[in-house]
C-alpha cells in the first residue's frame, strides 16, 4: 500500500465523533429502506401503509371493511409536481385505544403486531413512517380521529420528535361518537401523483382482487372516484396468535423468555412457552441435549443457553408448526376476487398443504387465470404476501424466479404469449421479505418448492382445459364442415348416378353429432 495516507481527501481531522441516533432518526435518514425513496414512491407507500393498517384492524375483529381513501391537492392552485397533497384514510375498524394512540402513530418501531400472528403489518413502522415523511416534507402535524366504542370520539394532532422517537401531542379533543367506530388518519405530505397514479390505481385493483369482502372507495386529486365494491361477505377467519416454534428462535429470544418466566423446571418452561412442545417432548429433547430436565431455567449459563438453542435447531422430533394460526384467503374468496377483477375465461386455484421454513408456518395459494375480457397476452404476475399486493421489484421475487426459470411451459403446451395471470398469495406468521419496504420475497427453498408444486398443478389444469376447449371447437367445426359439404356430395352423386332425388344425408349429420357426444362421455369417464 504505497503512498497510503490516513484520512480521506477533504477530511479536516482524524478525530471521529460518536453519537447515538433514535430509531425514528435512523429511518428518517434511511427512508429508502421503507419505500420512501422519492415523492412518487412516497405517495404510493403512504397510501399503501395506511390502507393496510385499516384492513389489518378490520380483519382482526372480523369486521367487513369499509375503507375510504382520498388524495387532494393541499393548494389547488399549485400545479408543478412534486407538490403537497392531503391524504385521508378512513376505516370502520375497531379503533385505537386513546392511551396507546400517540405512540402507535408517533413512535417508530411501536406496534401491536410483533406477535406470531399473521397480519400485513410486521415491523411497527409503516404507518408511522408515512406520518414522519409527511412531517419532514410539510412540517404539518398529522390528524387522527378514532373511536373504539362509537360513544366517544378522540381527535389528536400529533408531531413526532424524531431525535427522541417520541410523539408530541399538539392538540387533543374528545367528542361525540355518534355510533361510529373506526379510525381516520389525515396527513399532509409532498408527493407526485402524476408519476404514481398508475401504481396507486394498480394497488387498489390488486387489493380488491384479494379482499373482495371489502368496500373500497378511492378519490383521486382530479376528483375521479374509483369504487371497488364488495362481492362476497365471506371473510377469512381472523388469524390466531401462536407460540414460537423451537426451530425458529434465537439465543437472544431464549434469554429474554427465560428472564420473564418463573417456571421451576426447564421441562415445564419449554412445554409452556414453545409451540409443538409438550411435557413428554420437552423431556425427550432435554435428554437429547444432555441437560437435566429438572433444572431451573434461570440457572442456565450463557454458554448452556447457546448450546440448548443450537440443539433445538438440530432436533428433528418436534412436529412442524401448526398452520391453524394462519389465515389463507381460501378458494371462495380468491375466486370471488378473480371473477370480479379479472373476469377470465377460465381460472383454477390450488391451495398447498401448510408447510414451514425455519419454524415459521406458511401456506401457498396459487391461482391461474386465462383469457377473458381483461387479460392481455403474456404472463402477468400478481404477488401477494399476507394479502398485500407487491408491486415493485417483481424480477427479484421468488415467484418470478419460479415462473420464469423453473417451469418448463412447453411441457404444458401453453404458448408463452397466452393471456395468463398468475396470482400468488403467501400467508405466514413471518413473511421473509428482503426489505422492510415489503416489496419482494426471498427465495427460501421451502417456499420455492411449494410455489413450484402449486403452479405445476394449476398449469396441468389449464392445459387440460385448453385441450378440451380446442377439441370442442374442433367438433363444432367438424359439424359445420359436414353441414357444408355433405349436401354437395349428395347432390353430385345424384347427378352422376342419374337419380331423381339426392340420397338422404341427414342421417350422416346426426350420426356425426352422436359420435361426438359418445366420444365426450368416454373422455370424461376416462379422466
Amino acid at each position: 500500500m504505497k503512498g497510503c495516507s490516513f484520512g480521506r481527501e477533504g477530511e479536516k481531522s482524524l478525530k471521529e465523533t460518536f453519537s447515538e441516533i433514535s430509531p425514528s432518526d435512523f429511518f428518517y435518514r434511511n427512508r429508502d429502506l421503507a419505500g420512501f425513496t422519492n415523492p412518487a414512491r412516497a405517495l404510493y407507500s403512504t397510501v399503501r401503509e395506511l390502507v393496510e393498517n385499516s384492513l389489518d384492524a378490520c380483519e382482526l375483529e372480523s369486521i367487513l371493511p369499509e375503507v375510504y381513501v382520498r388524495i387532494t391537492a393541499y393548494d389547488p392552485l399549485e400545479e408543478a409536481e412534486p407538490k403537497k397533497y392531503v391524504i385521508r384514510v378512513q376505516d370502520n375498524g375497531p379503533g385505537v385505544e386513546p392511551e396507546r394512540l400517540p405512540e402507535a402513530f408517533g413512535k417508530v418501531l411501536y406496534g401491536s403486531k410483533y406477535k406470531l400472528r399473521q397480519s400485513r403489518g410486521m415491523f411497527g413502522l409503516g404507518g408511522t413512517m408515512a406520518i414522519l415523511y409527511g412531517q419532514i416534507t410539510s412540517n404539518k402535524p398529522v390528524t387522527i380521529e378514532t373511536s373504539v366504542d362509537g360513544v366517544k370520539r378522540y381527535y389528536y394532532k400529533l408531531m413526532i420528535d424524531i431525535e427522541k422517537n417520541k410523539p408530541i401531542i399538539v392538540e387533543k379533543k374528545v367528542g361525540e361518537g355518534n355510533g361510529l367506530r373506526g379510525t381516520v388518519v389525515e396527513l399532509v405530505m409532498e408527493g407526485d401523483y402524476f408519476r404514481s397514479s398508475t401504481k396507486i390505481q394498480e394497488y387498489f385493483k390488486q387489493t380488491a382482487l384479494v379482499v373482495p369482502y371489502a368496500n373500497i372507495t378511492f378519490i383521486e386529486p382530479s376528483g375521479k372516484i374509483f369504487y371497488f365494491l364488495r362481492t362476497t361477505t365471506e371473510m377469512p377467519p381472523p388469524p390466531k396468535e401462536t407460540l414460537p416454534h423451537p426451530h425458529g428462535i434465537d439465543v437472544e429470544f431464549m434469554r429474554r423468555t427465560i428472564r420473564q418466566s418463573s417456571d421451576e423446571s426447564l421441562a415445564k418452561f419449554l412445554s409452556k412457552r414453545f409451540h409443538r412442545v409438550g411435557l413428554k417432548t420437552a423431556i425427550k429433547f432435554l435428554q437429547y441435549a444432555g441437560i437435566d430436565p429438572n433444572r431451573s431455567p434461570k440457572s442456565l449459563s450463557d454458554e448452556e443457553i447457546v448450546n440448548m438453542v443450537s440443539a433445538m435447531h438440530r432436533y428433528e422430533e418436534f412436529l412442524p408448526p401448526d398452520a391453524g394460526c394462519l389465515s389463507p384467503l381460501g378458494e371462495n374468496i380468491l375466486a370471488a376476487g378473480i371473477v370480479k377483477e379479472l373476469a377470465p375465461e377460465f381460472f383454477t386455484i390450488v391451495t398447498r398443504p401448510p408447510s414451514a421454513y425455519s419454524g415459521y408456518p406458511f401456506i401457498v395459494e396459487v391461482a391461474l387465470a386465462y383469457g377473458g375480457k381483461i387479460l392481455e397476452n403474456g404472463i402477468k404476475l400478481y404477488r401477494f404476501a399476507n394479502r398485500i399486493p407487491l408491486l415493485y421489484d417483481e424480477a427479484s421475487d421468488v415467484s418470478w424466479k419460479v415462473i420464469h426459470e423453473e417451469i418448463d411451459w412447453k411441457r404444458y403446451r401453453i404458448p408463452q404469449d397466452a393471456p395468463i395471470a398468475v396470482i400468488v398469495n403467501i400467508s405466514s406468521t413471518r413473511i421473509p421479505y428482503k426489505t422492510v419496504g415489503k416489496e419482494y420475497i426471498a427465495d427460501r427453498p421451502e417456499i420455492e418448492r411449494e410455489l413450484k408444486n402449486a403452479l405445476r398443478e394449476t398449469l396441468r389444469k389449464l392445459s387440460a382445459y385448453l385441450s378440451r376447449r380446442s377439441s370442442e371447437e374442433h367438433e363444432k367445426k367438424k359439424i359445420n364442415m359436414y353441414l357444408k359439404y355433405l349436401p354437395l356430395i349428395a347432390n353430385f352423386s345424384k347427378e352422376l348416378a342419374k337419380k331423381s332425388r339426392p340420397p338422404n344425408y341427414k342421417r350422416l349429420l346426426s350420426k356425426g353429432e352422436e359420435e361426438e357426444r359418445q366420444k365426450k362421455i368416454e373422455e370424461f369417464t376416462d379422466s
Binding site: 367445426k477 367438424k478 364442415m481 359436414y482 359439404y485 355433405l486 354437395l488 356430395i489 349428395a490 353430385f492 352423386s493 345424384k494 347427378e495 352422376l496 348416378a497 342419374k498 337419380k499 340420397p503 338422404n504 344425408y505 342421417r507 350422416l508 350420426k511 356425426g512
Partner: protein, 360 residues
C-alpha cells in the same frame, strides 16, 4: 388402347356413373362415403423395368368424407367427376384453368389453380384414365403436319374429315384433334422436333415427302395431349416415332419423357411411346459434325448428374452420352447445322442418324 376416342369417352362415362352410384348408395345406407385410389406419394412411385417408365406401386389411399381433412378434397373430387361427366355429355372441352374457375358456380372453392390441378390428377388416378379422356386439356399447344386424314368427333363437326397436309403452318394438337378418329395415312414414320423453327424448316424442305413422315412440333417439353397423340399415332397406326432435340441434357429429357413418361404422370401408363427413338443431337454429334457449341452451364451439369442416376437412363447409350456431355462440357442447338447449309440437317444429318438408330 386401340379403342377409338368415342368408345373411350363412353367407358369413362360408365366409370363415372358407377362412382356416382357407389357414393349414392353409401349415403342412402347411412355410411360416410369413401373413395379409394392408387397413392401418388413419392414412396409409391416406382420404375417399371418392363414398361421402362415410372408407374404407381400397389399402395392405395382411402379418402373418406367422414375425415374432416378429407372432406374438402373429397367434395372437390366428386364435383370434378360430375363436371367432366357433364362436359362429355355436352361434347365440350375445358382447360385446366377453366376447371379452376368453373368450380365457383357450383359452390366449390379451390384456393388456386394448383389445388384444382391436383384434384384433376386425383381423378385420373381414381379412374386410371388421362384427363384428355374426360375432355380436360392444358393451355399449351403443339402442332402436326403431314399426310394423315382425321375425322372429328367434336360436336358440330362430327363426321367432317380433314387432311393435315392442307396447311403449311401445321395444325394445333388441341382437344378436337386429340379426340378425332385417325382415318388414313400414307406416312411411314413420325418426326417429333423440339422447336417451331425446325418444324417450319422440315415442312419447307418437304421432309414429309422425302421421308413419308408426319412432322410434330413438341414446343419444348411436350404437353400431355401431344404425348397422348404421339402414342395414338404409334399404337393405332403403327408408325415409329423419332425424336430430334437440342444437344443438351434438357433436350435429351424431352425424348425421355416421350418414351418413358414422367414421375408426375406415373399413375397413367397410356401416355408413353416406349419404342420412340432419339435421333439426336447427341453430345457425340457435336464432335462428329464439328458443330458450333457453347459451354454447359452449372445448371446443365447438375441436370446431367441427376439424369445419370435416373433409372430411365440406365441404357448404356444414354450413360455414354451423359458422360460425353460432362467430359466435353459442350452443348449445341439444332440450328447449329446451318453452319453448313440450311438443307444439311435434312439431307445429310437425318439419313445418317436414321441409319444409325436402326442399327441399334
Amino acid at each position: 388402347m386401340k379403342s377409338s376416342p368415342t368408345a373411350r369417352k363412353r367407358e369413362v362415362q360408365e366409370m363415372l356413373k358407377v362412382l356416382g352410384e357407389k357414393i349414392y348408395y353409401q349415403i342412402e345406407n347411412g355410411v360416410f362415403p369413401e373413395i379409394e385410389m392408387p397413392s401418388r406419394s413419392v414412396k409409391n412411385i416406382v420404375y417399371d423395368e418392363k414398361l421402362k417408365q415410372y408407374v404407381v406401386g400397389k399402395n392405395r389411399v382411402k379418402r373418406s368424407s367422414k375425415n374432416i381433412k378429407h372432406l374438402r378434397p373429397f367434395t372437390q373430387t366428386i364435383w370434378l367427376a360430375f363436371f367432366v361427366d357433364k362436359l362429355i355429355r355436352e361434347g365440350k372441352t375445358s382447360t385446366l384453368r377453366d376447371v379452376y374457375y368453373s368450380a365457383q358456380a357450383f359452390g366449390i372453392e379451390f384456393k388456386d389453380q394448383a389445388e384444382s390441378d391436383e384434384i384433376i390428377t386425383d381423378l385420373e388416378a381414381l379412374l386410371g384414365r388421362a384427363r384428355e379422356d374426360y375432355n380436360v386439356y392444358p393451355e399449351e399447344r403443339s402442332a402436326i403436319y403431314g399426310d394423315i386424314t382425321i375425322e372429328y368427333t367434336t360436336p358440330g363437326h362430327e363426321g367432317k374429315r380433314l387432311n393435315l397436309a392442307s396447311h403449311p403452318d401445321g395444325y394445333l394438337i388441341g382437344p378436337s384433334l386429340s379426340t378425332a378418329e385417325l382415318v388414313e395415312t400414307s406416312a411411314k414414320m413420325v418426326f417429333a422436333v423440339e422447336k417451331g423453327g425446325l418444324f417450319t424448316r422440315f415442312v419447307e424442305n418437304k421432309v414429309h415427302e422425302k421421308y413419308n413422315a408426319l412432322i410434330v412440333d413438341t414446343a419444348g417439353q411436350p404437353p400431355r395431349s401431344t404425348r397422348y397423340f404421339l402414342r395414338r399415332l404409334n399404337q393405332e397406326l403403327g408408325l415409329p416415332v423419332y425424336v430430334l432435340t437440342d444437344a443438351d441434357p434438357y433436350g435429351m429429357h424431352i425424348y425421355m419423357v416421350i418414351a418413358s413418361g414422367s414421375a408426375n404422370a406415373a399413375h397413367l401408363t397410356e401416355l408413353t411411346v416406349p419404342t420412340a427413338k432419339w435421333l439426336g443431337v447427341t453430345a457425340t454429334d457435336i464432335e462428329t459434325y464439328r458443330l458450333p457449341y457453347v459451354r454447359l452451364t452449372d445448371e446443365d451439369i447438375k441436370r446431367a448428374y441427376e439424369l445419370k442416376n435416373d433409372p430411365r437412363y440406365r441404357d448404356e447409350r444414354f450413360q455414354r452420352e451423359l458422360d460425353v456431355f460432362l467430359r466435353k462440357q459442350k452443348k449445341a442447338e439444332l440450328e447449329a447445322f446451318a453452319k453448313y447449309s440450311l438443307d444439311y440437317i435434312v439431307d445429310k444429318y437425318l439419313p445418317d442418324k436414321l441409319k444409325e438408330v436402326k442399327e441399334l
